[in-house]
Symmetry: C2
Subunit: 247 residues, 2 copies
């Protein structure tokens, strides 16, 4: 391997460093479904590919197996077992809209009612009373995310009689209000699942969750929909295209 | 509390459900530094605010304490201890550029060399040889993220002699190449820290990490910089503004 450390000293790279380096590249190939038939090349090939020892490749594959992305199948090799899907961040789209190619999204409606908004929610939505919706969202029956949604009263009340089990809230809002959604401000965090959320999402306690907070506005700029979403880290990735502004 | 479940049946909401609901709203206030002097209102006030019992509020605060966001200080109350910062997703900015208000970003350069690119990296960068840079990034000395970076040879080689300990790669690329960066394609995942990454980032094994893969292009569209970034979930959030496209 060509190697030229800046000061000429040998780099002290642990096998774990080399394994992580390979695992990151392979992870992306797994998520992007880059392997024909979902079968990874054998360890010898991967060792050559990444210019590392077979032990390092084994350790890389161990990391991805621990994440639930791949598994070993006797007689077949290492296969992709992840059912991980990409959710576009650039377009403000509902989950069912985004994932329709992969199957059917259904929602267990765990709560649906009019509540007095906590003051910070009231301030952000400009609404003292709100409709609260709590949904466990599934793709082909398997839990994907737990969504806690606050809607302004005028936007939320017409949804009380709608098909929240099978429809995205975004499309229901646009249909019942006759108005278009415009922009949303989103923040993303990685959080370990607490015991109760883990049970609901059917993951081990402490599993990494992608926590999304999203405030969506009508096209006229009025905020109408505030959501707190816990996505299973092993099932969803978010994708976006960014542009560097001139500085 | 006003409550109107759709079919008239009483909702079966566990205390854990009410605690999670309150915790999500409070988490956002913590991250947005909404509490004067970093001190949360007392439990009685919060119970009224969220229309739940004090036990539910205690459980909500327990969740946030487990995430390392708040702590109890005798004689003071519940205080914000999070050192969590927001990284803008919309602008393609380096970490030091983004966080300059909060302190100094320094980088431990763990690896820096020319390598033969793994084929999927070579394909994405259009470069068979690449410069590999591995950095542990710190804010005011505390680990924030572990970044594995692949640069095309023409863009990476001039960086071998640059101040990678103190400068963002984005600004170094633009300075040494004389070209502007344009767009980047980003994907975000939540992953539990493996043992070795946990040690490097100084977090417990299994801690939730925000894993970002980012392919950045010059303004002319040529891909030049592929990064795999592990961010500490307790220290960074990503923010973005989205727009709903007409469908």
């Amino acid at each position: 391997m060509t190697s030229s450390h800046r000061d000429g000293s040998p780099e002290r790279r642990l096998r774990a460093d080399r394994a992580r380096q390979a695992a990151d590249v392979i992870r992306q190939q797994v998520v992007q479904r880059a392997f024909p038939d979902g079968v990874l090349p054998d360890e010898r090939f991967l060792a050559t590919e990444f210019s590392v020892s077979r032990n390092s490749i084994r350790e890389a594959l161990d990391l991805l197996r621990e994440e639930g992305l791949i598994d070993r199948v006797p007689g077949v090799g290492t296969v992709v077992v992840a059912r991980k899907y990409s959710h576009g961040l650039n377009q403000l789209m509902g989950l069912a809209e985004t994932l329709h190619e992969h199957g059917t999204v259904t929602n267990d409606v765990r709560a649906l009612r009019v509540i007095k908004a906590p003051s910070s929610v009231a301030a952000r939505l400009g609404s003292a009373e709100v409709v609260y919706v709590e949904r466990l969202r599934r793709l082909n029956g398997l839990p994907l995310s737990l969504d806690l949604t606050y809607l302004t009263l005028d936007v939320g009340e017409p949804l009380l009689s709608q098909d929240l089990e099978n429809r995205d809230i975004f499309s229901l809002i646009e249909q019942t209000s006759g108005q278009r959604l415009g922009t949303a401000v989103v923040s993303l965090e990685a959080v370990n699942a607490d015991a109760h959320s883990a049970t609901v999402l059917e993951v081990p306690r402490g599993a990494a969750l992608l926590v999304v907070e999203r405030l969506s506005h009508f096209a006229d700029g009025r905020p109408v929909d505030l959501e707190f979403i816990r996505m299973r880290g092993d099932r969803l990735t978010m994708r976006a295209e960014l542009r560097r502004t001139s500085s």
